[in-house]
C-alpha cells in the first residue's frame, strides 16, 4: 500500500508504578481495514489505545497520523486528528438526549445548532445503517443502543479512525451482528477500525489483520494473506498457541456429578418491578437443587437484572415468595441473605461490583466487612484484610501489584477476575452470577467455567445468567428462558439446543 497509514505508533512504551503496560509497541492502521488487537487480560491493549486517544502520554516512542509525526495531548487533540474511541466502559450522560450527547463538547460556535446537528445525525444514520431516535434520553436506551450512540458520536465528529474496545462483550448476539455490519460499512467507506476483543471467532470473521499483545509487548502480527491461508480451526489454534504459549486450555469437562434432592432455592410466583417501574418479573417460579447449575437464557433486559436482585435482596418483591433452604427470605436484607450463603456476582462490575476509587483490599471486604475475622467490635483488622485480598489476587491470578493499588487502575478483565474471586471465596450455598466471563480472555473463561462446575460438584447451587449460548449449554443442568419477565420454558440439558432456546428467547413458543 502506498497510502500512509491513518495511525502509526513507533516504539510506544508506557509504564505505571510497578507495571510495564506497553513495551516498545509498533502498530499501524490503514484506511479501509479492520485491525484487531488480541491479548490476555492486562496485556496492555486498552492502554495502547488510550495513548492514541490522548488520555495517556507515552514514556517513549512517537505517533504518526497520516504520515505526520504528532503529539496527542488530550482526547480533544485526537478527535481533531480524526481518531474516535468507544471505551470498554463507555460514558454517556444519562439524562441528556442522544442529540445533546452528540453535540456536547463539539466545537461549532457557542450557540448549539440543534437543527443542523439533527440533519447531520440523520445523514450519518442512513449512511452507516445505524438507526437511532435523536430525542430519546440515554437512560432509556439499551446497552447496544448506547454503544451505537457512541459510534455515531465519533462519526459525527468526522473520525477517520475508529477504536472499539471490546464492543461486543456487552451486546446480544443480534446486536453484535448489527455492529459487524456497521464495521463492514465503515471499512468499505475507507475508514480504519481498530477492534479489541477476546472472542476469536469474531476476530477471525472480520479482521484484515490481527496483532497479538502479551505482557505489554507485541508478540505477533498475522496479516491478511496468512489469515486467508488458514481455516478457522487452524487459525484459532495458532492464535491460542501464540497467546498462551502452547499451554493447553482445559476443556469444559463433563465429569459425572450428582444433584441432591434438597431444594436450595425456590421461587414461588415472584413478581417485582424493575428500575423503571415497569413489571420486571411476572409470576416467576422455579427451583434449584443442591449442586445444580440453573442457566437463564434471554435477550438482555427481559428481567435478568430483576431476577438477580430479587434473590440477592436489592429489589423488593411485589408479591410471591422466595425460599432459601426452606426458609422464607423474601423480606430479609441483602447482608442477611449474604450471611446465609447467597453470593450475587453482578455483571455491572464498574458501578455496583466494586468501588474504583478504593484499593483492592478495601474492595475485598465490601460484603464481609461487618463480620469477623475482617472486623471485631466495629474495628477493621487490616492485617487480616490485606492477607485476604492477597489471597484473592493469588488464587485468581489477578494482574495487580498488590492489595493497595487503586481498583480503577486494573484492566477491565482483571477487575472482573477480582470480583469473581471475592464472590466465590465465601463458600456460598448459592451463587448468582450474571455474565461471569464477560471481558475475560479465552483461558480465564475456561478456568471460570471449570470453577463453577467444580463448585457445583461440591454441592453449591448456581444460578447462571449469560448471553453466551455455548457457556449456557455447556455449563447448565437445566435452562430457563426469560422473555418479558416470564419464564417461557425450562429445558433439560439433554433437549436444549441453540435453535430451541433462540426461539423461546424471542417469545416464540413451540
Amino acid at each position: 500500500m502506498n497510502v500512509p497509514p491513518l495511525i502509526k505508533t513507533a516504539g510506544i512504551t508506557k509504564s505505571f508504578p510497578g507495571v510495564l503496560a506497553n513495551d516498545h509497541i509498533d502498530f499501524d492502521l490503514f484506511p479501509g481495514e479492520v485491525h484487531t488487537l488480541l491479548g490476555e487480560n492486562g496485556a496492555g491493549k486498552t492502554t495502547l489505545m488510550n495513548i492514541l486517544y490522548g488520555l495517556y502520554q507515552p514514556d517513549e516512542g512517537h505517533i504518526e497520523v497520516c504520515g505526520q509525526k504528532t503529539r496527542i495531548r488530550s482526547p480533544y487533540d485526537s478527535l481533531k486528528l480524526g481518531i474516535g474511541m468507544v471505551h470498554q466502559h463507555f460514558a454517556l450522560i444519562p439524562n441528556l438526549s442522544v442529540l445533546e450527547n452528540l453535540v456536547l463538547g463539539f466545537e461549532g460556535g457557542f450557540i448549539l445548532n440543534m437543527k443542523d446537528a439533527e440533519k447531520k445525525l440523520k445523514r450519518i444514520s442512513e449512511e452507516y445503517g445505524q438507526a437511532i431516535d435523536p430525542h430519546e434520553l440515554i437512560q432509556n436506551l439499551s446497552v447496544g443502543e448506547r454503544q451505537r450512540t457512541e459510534i455515531i458520536k465519533t462519526l459525527f465528529r468526522g473520525s477517520e479512525a475508529l477504536i472499539l474496545d471490546e464492543p461486543t462483550s456487552v451486546l446480544t448476539p443480534i446486536e453484535a451482528e448489527e455492529l459487524f455490519q456497521t464495521i463492514t460499512t465503515l471499512k468499505n467507506a475507507g475508514k480504519g477500525v481498530v477492534l479489541i476483543t477476546h472472542k476469536l471467532n469474531e476476530a477471525l470473521a472480520i479482521s484484515d489483520r490481527i496483532s497479538i499483545l502479551s505482557l505489554g509487548r507485541k508478540i505477533a502480527e498475522l496479516n491478511g494473506d496468512e489469515l486467508r491461508s488458514m481455516d478457522e480451526k487452524d487459525a484459532t489454534e495458532k492464535i491460542l498457541n501464540i497467546m498462551f504459549g502452547g499451554k493447553p486450555i482445559p476443556e469444559c469437562s463433563l465429569v459425572e456429578k450428582t444433584i441432591s434432592d434438597q431444594v436450595v432455592l425456590k421461587l414461588e410466583d415472584v413478581e417485582v418491578m424493575n428500575s423503571r417501574g415497569v413489571v420486571g418479573l411476572n409470576k416467576v417460579s422455579f427451583e434449584i437443587r443442591g449442586g445444580e447449575i440453573f442457566g437463564i437464557a434471554g435477550v438482555d433486559g427481559n428481567g435478568q437484572k430483576s431476577l438477580c436482585e430479587a434473590i440477592g435482596g436489592q429489589r423488593e418483591l411485589v408479591s410471591g415468595r422466595i425460599r432459601f433452604r426452606g426458609e422464607d427470605i423474601s423480606r430479609k436484607s441483602v447482608s442477611k441473605r449474604h450471611e446465609m450463603g447467597i453470593s450475587y456476582i453482578t455483571d455491572d462490575r464498574m458501578n455496583e461490583g466494586c468501588v474504583l476509587d478504593l484499593s483492592l483490599a478495601e474492595n475485598a471486604i465490601l460484603r464481609g466487612y461487618c463480620q469477623p475475622p475482617y472486623s471485631r467490635f466495629n474495628i477493621i483488622d487490616n492485617t487480616v484484610v490485606d492477607r485476604f485480598a492477597n489471597k484473592l489476587i493469588m488464587d485468581f491470578d489477578v494482574k495487580a501489584t498488590g492489595p493497595y493499588v487503586r481498583t480503577g487502575t486494573l484492566s477491565g478483565g482483571n477487575i472482573q477476575k477480582f470480583i469473581l474471586a471475592r464472590g466465590l471465596s465465601t463458600e456460598p450455598g448459592l451463587i448468582i452470577c450474571s455474565k461471569p466471563t464477560y471481558g475475560l480472555d479465552a483461558r480465564t473463561v475456561n478456568y471460570i467455567q471449570e470453577l463453577l462446575l467444580e463448585e457445583s460438584k461440591q454441592g453449591t447451587s448456581v444460578l447462571l445468567i449469560t448471553s453466551e449460548m455455548d457457556e449456557l449449554i455447556n455449563c447448565s443442568d437445566r435452562i430457563g428462558v426469560l422473555f418479558n419477565g416470564k419464564i417461557m420454558a425450562i429445558l433439560d440439558k439433554c433437549d436444549a439446543t441453540p435453535e430451541k432456546i433462540g426461539k423461546l428467547m424471542l417469545g416464540i413458543e413451540e
Binding site: 447482608s335 449474604h338 453482578t346 461490583g353 468501588v355 476509587d357 478495601e362 474495628i379 490485606d386 493499588v405
Partner: protein, 343 residues
C-alpha cells in the same frame, strides 16, 4: 489496608504551596490598593504568631475550628456536605448559655460540664436531623437544606435571647452571665482553655474512626460509589444520617466550648461564622485529622493577626477572608494539576 492517597507526602506539599501562592497573590492585591505588603505581612506574622499575646490568642481560637473540623471529617468523607455548621454551632451555644447558669448551681463541676456539653452536642444533632432525614429518605440536597437551617437558627437564637431566655437583670439581649468559677478550666500554667485539648482529641478520634472502623469504611464507600454501597447491602440511609448527625453534634459542642470558655454568656447578635473557615480547612487538610491541626493554627493566626493589622494599617479585616478564599482557589487548581500529572 492502607489508604491510597491520604498518606502520601505530595498532598501536604500541594496544600502548603497553595498557601504560599495565596500569600503572594494577596501581596499583589495589597500593592494595587496602595498598601505595603511587606509591612502588612510583617505585622501580620509578628502580631499573630510571634508576639506572646497574639500567639496565645491564635491558639485559643483554634479550639472551635478543631472541634467543628472533627465532625466535618465524618460527613465530608462520606460525601455529605453539611454547610450548616454555623446554625448547629449557634444552637449548641444558645443551649449552653441558657442551661449553664442553672446547671452550674445544681451539679458538681465535672458533671455540670459534661451535661452542658451533651446538651449542646444534642442540640447540634437535632438541628441537622431534618436535613439528614430528608437526605436519607428523599435524597434531598443537604447543601440547600442545611444552609436554610442556618438562617432559621440565626433568627431563632436572636428571638430566644430577646424573649424566652433573656436575662431580665441585664439590658441587652443576652443570657445570664456564667460566673468565672463555672467557666471551662485552663490548661495548667497557661491562659488557654481546655477546649483546645478537647478539639485535638475529637479530631484524632474521628481521624481513626474514618480509617479503622466499619462506620468509617461505610463512609468511604458511600463517598465513592453509592450504588456499590447499596448493592453490597449497606444501609445507605443509616450511614447518611449518622454522617450528618456526627457533624452536627461536633458543631454544637464547639458552640458550648466557646460559650463556656470565652463568652460566658450567649448574646443575640453573636455569630463567629466558623463554618466559613472550617469547611475550607477540612478540604485543605484532605480529610486528614493530623493535617487539620497546623492548618487550623494558620487560619486562626490569620484572623487574629488580621484583626491587629486592621487597626494599625487600615486594611479591612475581611482581607484575611480574601486570603482564605485565595488559598482554596489555589488548592483547587493544585488538585487539577495533580490529576493531570498522574497520567
Amino acid at each position: 489496608m492502607k489508604k491510597i492517597e491520604f498518606n502520601d507526602i505530595a498532598p501536604a506539599f500541594y496544600s502548603v504551596l497553595s498557601i504560599v501562592f495565596a500569600l503572594i497573590t494577596g501581596a499583589v492585591i495589597l500593592i494595587f490598593i496602595g498598601k505595603n505588603p511587606l509591612l502588612y505581612f510583617g505585622q501580620l506574622f509578628f502580631q499573630g504568631m510571634f508576639s506572646p499575646l497574639g500567639l496565645v490568642e491564635s491558639i485559643i481560637k483554634m479550639a472551635p475550628l478543631l472541634i467543628i473540623s472533627a465532625g466535618l471529617l465524618a460527613c465530608f468523607s462520606a460525601g455529605l456536605w453539611n454547610i450548616g455548621v454555623e446554625g448547629q454551632f449557634l444552637i449548641g451555644a444558645v443551649l449552653a448559655g441558657w442551661s449553664a447558669p442553672t446547671l452550674a448551681s445544681l451539679l458538681p463541676y465535672p458533671i455540670y460540664l459534661l451535661s452542658v456539653a451533651a446538651l449542646g452536642a444534642m442540640g447540634g444533632m437535632f438541628w441537622i436531623l431534618l436535613p439528614a432525614v430528608l437526605k436519607a429518605r428523599y435524597d434531598m440536597n443537604e447543601i440547600i437544606t442545611t444552609m436554610m437551617m442556618n438562617w432559621v437558627a440565626i433568627n431563632l437564637v436572636t428571638w430566644l435571647v430577646k424573649g424566652p431566655i433573656n436575662d431580665p437583670t441585664s439590658v441587652p439581649a443576652q443570657t445570664a452571665l456564667i460566673p468565672m468559677e463555672h467557666r471551662l478550666s485552663m490548661i495548667p500554667f497557661t491562659s488557654i482553655h481546655i477546649g483546645l485539648i478537647v478539639g485535638i482529641i475529637c479530631l484524632f478520634i474521628m481521624h481513626y474512626v474514618i480509617r479503622k472502623t466499619t462506620l468509617g469504611y461505610e463512609f468511604r464507600v458511600l463517598l465513592s460509589n453509592k450504588r456499590a454501597a447499596f448493592h453490597s447491602g449497606m444501609n445507605v440511609a443509616r450511614i447518611t444520617i449518622w454522617g450528618l448527625l456526627i457533624s452536627g453534634g461536633f458543631a454544637g459542642l464547639a458552640g458550648v466550648s466557646d460559650v463556656l470558655a470565652i463568652k460566658g454568656l450567649f448574646q443575640g447578635d453573636w455569630n463567629p461564622a466558623y463554618g466559613m473557615t472550617a469547611i475550607p480547612l477540612v478540604f485543605l487538610a484532605r480529610f486528614n485529622g493530623w493535617a487539620v491541626v497546623p492548618l487550623a493554627f494558620f487560619f486562626s493566626f490569620l484572623s487574629v493577626g488580621g484583626e491587629f493589622v486592621a487597626r494599625d494599617q487600615g486594611v479591612p479585616i475581611f482581607f484575611v477572608h480574601i486570603l482564605e478564599g485565595l488559598t482554596l482557589l489555589f488548592f483547587a487548581a493544585s488538585e487539577y494539576i495533580e490529576k493531570r500529572r498522574a497520567f
